[in-house]
Subunit: 489 residues, 2 copies
């Protein structure tokens, strides 16, 4: 190949042209309500339609732009104001801008040497997060998602209790037990498998009807594990469970952890953003007593995926726990202060720069601006909850509103006023999947659904709001109307 | 807050303005050789200079653009043609375009439901990678970096040998042993800690002078571990060691693994891109006999960070190993074919879309175009090696050239022709850090350095080439000249 020609080519305008396609297709700029959330096609049909194949063929820039347009049109518009399907929604436009910067600057977060400004940015964002959480002397690191952040918590807890685990492994330790609520996220189970504890080491603690961990049950479970010869290693409390959005009683959990000397990790991946709201932060009282916290600004707050932070109260622990001291990367004879090199705190080597987009969002909006976006999301969820409560055919799964999750059944007219026996609930269970299919085919909105078997709940809808695009009460009304319309078709 | 106003605001032009700043500052578009690789400042000074602080203040769009410009100017230009500091370099402009698309579309890779097109794109990219590697019926997943990909390998190997590890943990297994060369990446050690095996479970196998694992030593080590009552769980062979760029003798390693029935994982994070070159792929003969492979297209190939793929020969294993079957996300009563949902193969839950940027690069360049970029990188490395061999004062650390790493000492004039005793080597050891500081302060180039204590090597330079921007022989000449100039200042 002609390296000179390729080097000179530079593809100067291609990025701008791609940006233009994204805007034309409504993925950047002002949200366009007339566009569908999704133009659903089944996998086999979409696979046949998209020109996916890789091989010898070479596409020129015009063809590449056409491919980008095809893929965009076949994608779900997560930035549509009626995308309510996941624990994330639209991206903050300032966050997207920050993400574009880090993609263009393409570096790894591991050393100050190759990421001087980003190292300082990450340091500042973590410092500010630590202040919000209440770990003024703590430490932290950005991680690729909340599941990995929760693994950081489990690894830190284990190392703190048994530093020899690093060299000698789990076989050298007593049997360990990890405690988490039966409404908590599955990452605790996946982490227990990966980290060599095994899923049977996870003790599921009962929750109340709203999904909040029962601290008394937790205490009993810890004592029972001890009696069985198992060493309690970590309690995982949740701020914002995946389905019901429950916030565990952090103060009560902290009391138990303190009394019994167990590491308290808080999975605040979903609900951690409430800390930014002066009005709703009190729901998280007790968070400052935790030993470690996971928080995903890419969820409620709308930082582009991935943006997760792991915070730990004790300074120095993260480095001691994870360091391998590789001499090729973390040379100690460098000419600058190498204590700024963050890479050896991480289980990763190369690490994507995830802090900058959040920093830019924070710069753009300030503490109060971010808090106002959270307030607005909660206010709309509260309004939606009241609509569910007051509208015929709708039934709340829980009266609580800890985060922005509002779970509900829709009872079609044909099922109302009947005896609510097992068969009846079986028919209700079929409503959500059917309506969901109609949602996807209509493209007017997307709302998730699921059952909660351990609570005896058949399929219900999980509505939720996030910060972007900022939801409005009229949007909530539309959801009520569309669920009715699609269910009664 | 006024949700309507914020929603209408849309920040329509901000992204375009940010793209403009990136271009003006030379981070996109044709590389500008007159710009420095870095305008180095020490951490405390840079911290005082950048307006990092987060809090109540709110920046308007003009101020945000000024902040972006400041951060960019304080960053290392990894796309500069004289950035040779890491196992990555500049990003492929088509890759950056793909990354911008996925950032704007902001979704998670876990279900077809929210990532229909990206699910199919990932499927196609993995299919094509599997064909290249020689696992036609295999499976794979994109992971956040090579260290995590290598952990996937260790987890799969362990699960394949002992499925009960998932529930019962490592304590229920015999003591395990993992084998890797003494030149291999530290992620094997970090993985052994995280996964509960402990770093003492890792057996370091000796390498030859070029850094290639000695298969006879591997065989002896496995047999010795068995005699000690340890169960050999995985051999990690390396294609492209971090420092010397060595490729382990994959065929010989495969023979040992086959004979002794041990899982063979190949860490091809750095050197895996050679598979795309018809000329250099034969160096990887034996790769198709592995059980699993990690490959980082974000390294030599220039996909933007992060872009790592884990590939496994056996179909179905990845899902069985990692699935948690969470009913809120992977509902089995969805209206489409849920076998397309990839999320339960992953240890992550939310998962960034990392496949699309590589897909777009592959579409733009085709197999042969990517192969030609690899050929060019290797050819320039070979030319550089010959310049080192033939230039007074330069001395190769290894005569091999398995990847594009060319490691060398520079002996300043004042040290030439002397007795090469311990004291003399001590003076040579100080050359690289000193020159490195001068590089950073001059901003003309960045080349890494490190020692290899287990081989008795004091600090040396690690030069290497990547695909972007495509290196030229004149660039290699400049490196020779600059090292001489800066060392003799």
């Amino acid at each position: 190949m002609d390296a000179d020609a390729e080097a000179r080519r530079g593809h100067d305008d291609f990025l701008e042209r791609v940006a233009g396609v994204l805007r034309e297709e409504g993925f950047t700029g002002t949200p366009a309500p007339e566009l569908p959330v999704v133009s659903f096609q089944h996998p086999d049909k979409l696979q046949a339609q998209l020109r996916l194949g890789l091989g010898d063929a070479v596409a020129d820039e015009d063809e590449l732009l056409a491919l980008v347009r095809e893929v965009a049109r076949a994608s779900v518009r997560t930035g549509h104001r009626h995308f309510y399907n996941q624990l994330y929604g639209g991206a903050d436009p300032f966050g997207v801008a920050g993400a574009w910067v880090t993609e263009a600057l393409n570096t790894s977060q591991y050393t100050f040497e190759v990421a001087p400004a980003f190292t300082l940015v990450e340091h500042e964002v973590i410092r500010h997060c630590l202040a919000k959480v209440g770990f003024p002397n703590g430490d932290g690191i950005f991680t690729p998602g909340g599941s990995v952040a929760n693994m950081y918590g489990m690894v830190a807890a284990r190392y703190k209790a048994f530093p020899r685990v690093k060299t000698d492994g789990v076989r050298a330790l007593p049997p360990l037990a990890v405690f988490t609520s039966d409404d908590s996220h599955y990452s605790v189970m996946k982490g227990a498998h990966w980290l060599g504890l095994g899923t049977s080491s996870v003790v599921k603690v009962a929750t109340d009807q709203h999904g909040r961990m029962l601290a008394g049950e937790l205490r009993d479970a810890i004592l029972a594990a001890r009696r069985d010869g198992r060493q309690p290693c970590m309690v995982n409390a949740t701020v914002g469970t995946t389905v019901l959005g429950a916030v565990d009683p952090l103060g009560e959990v902290a009391d138990v952890c303190q009394e019994l000397g167990v590491w308290m990790h808080v999975d605040a991946c979903w609900g951690g953003s409430l800390i930014l709201s002066a009005r709703h932060a009190p729901r998280l009282a007790g968070l400052a007593r935790a030993d470690s916290v996971s928080w995903n600004p890419h969820k409620m707050l709308g930082a582009p995926l991935q943006c997760s932070v792991f915070l730990v109260r004790q300074p120095g622990l993260l480095h001691r726990c994870n360091a391998a001291a590789a001499e090729y990367l973390f040379q100690q004879d460098k000419f600058y202060d190498v204590s700024w090199d963050t890479g050896d705190k991480s289980v990763q080597c190369g690490r994507k720069v995830d802090a900058f987009k959040l920093w830019l969002m924070w710069k753009a909006r300030g503490d109060q601006g971010l808090g106002a976006l959270v307030d607005n999301a909660v206010a709309c969820a509260s309004y939606f909850q009241s609509r569910v409560r007051d509208t015929e055919g709708f039934r709340l799964v829980s009266e609580a509103l800890d985060c922005t999750n509002v779970c509900f059944w829709y009872i079609p007219k044909r099922l109302r006023g009947q005896k609510e026996d097992e068969q009846w609930w079986g028919q209700v269970a079929a409503v959500a999947p059917t309506v969901k299919e109609r949602m996807a085919l209509a493209g007017t909105l997307l709302v998730g659904y699921c059952p909660l078997p351990h609570k005896g709940h058949v399929n219900f809808f999980r509505m939720l709001t996030t910060c972007h695009p900022p939801p409005r009460t009229e949007d909530m009304d539309l959801v009520i109307g569309e669920v009715q319309r699609l269910a009664e078709l």
